[in-house]
Amino acid sequence: MHIPDGFLSTTTWVSAWTVSAGGLGCCLRQAGRAMKDRMVPLMGVLSAFIFAAQMINFPVMGGTSGHLLGGVLAAVLLGPWAGAVVIASVLIFQCLVFQDGGLTALGANILNMALVGTLGGYFIYRVIAKLLGGRKGIVTGAVTAAWFSVVAAASLCALQLALSGTSPLGLVLPAMAAVHAVIGIGEGMITGLIVGFILKTRPDLIYQGQGIGSRVSGLGPQAMEPVKEM
């Protein structure tokens, strides 16, 4: 749902740029604090993987396609702040090099997908992971949050289109939410498969929040492999 130039009114895109510039600055600061040496190569790999995966449009109903957003996937592995930075970097790169998403709309795209999709998605993931506990909690939380992140980003996009006078809210909001409720199933499936695979093979790569990591994940220290620094 990369918004192109021309869809948003000047007031809307300037406001969105302002909000996302502030939000992204905040994410950069927080991510810097939480960044560990071993997360540096992981952030490179995730940036590369999410960029590549976003190129793979999968068909959904009636001549429509969708692709992975990856915000929740990034946040489950890198934490919410670095996760948002990854998605924002991908969006900036896609916009400047491939004209995928407009330059004026970049602020709105970052706001919808990198900030709301990733940070909001991470919040949902943590709540569910904590409630259910264990590996099942992590996977269920990631799948549910992934679906919500797509529908939330799409709904916010619809709101911006309505505020821009591009399309009435009563039409564009249900239309965007309905299409992305279907695309979000793909997001949930892909995110769940990857998170499940990583939990089986490298559970130490799952981001552990400050202090509550072991309780949330239910992974004792014995489940952790010794971490090799790069």
């Binding site: 749902m1 130039d5 540096v40 992981l42 590369a48 396609s65 090099v97 004209q99």
Partner: protein, 96 residues
């Protein structure tokens, strides 16, 4: 994440970009579909404020769309690895 895992992860990303991207669905995405259905799609036609070097992942001068997509995907994936790695390293240094 160690060096070996990083190389393996990057290899997976590169394989997706190189081998899968030419077969990606070319159907309109969710927003494009809604824009077409609700009649505001043409608002974005020719409204670009920036001429990107590789618009729509099609390398200028390359005839084959599949080769073009695979190539821009592969180069983009490598570049994104560098960007992600670099940004993480900068943040690590500043955050200390």
């Amino acid at each position: 994440m160690g060096k070996r895992d990083a190389i393996m992860g990057l290899a997976v990303a590169l394989a997706i970009a190189l081998l899968l991207s030419p077969f990606a669905s070319s159907w309109p995405d969710g927003l494009e579909r809604v824009a077409k259905d609700l009649g505001f799609f043409e608002k974005g036609e020719g409204a670009e404020v920036l001429k990107a070097p590789i618009p729509d992942y099609k390398i200028p001068g390359l005839d084959s769309e599949g080769v073009s997509t695979a190539l821009s995907g592969t180069l983009g994936t490598l570049a994104m690895f560098g960007i992600g790695f670099g940004v993480a390293r900068l943040m690590r240094r500043k955050g200390q």
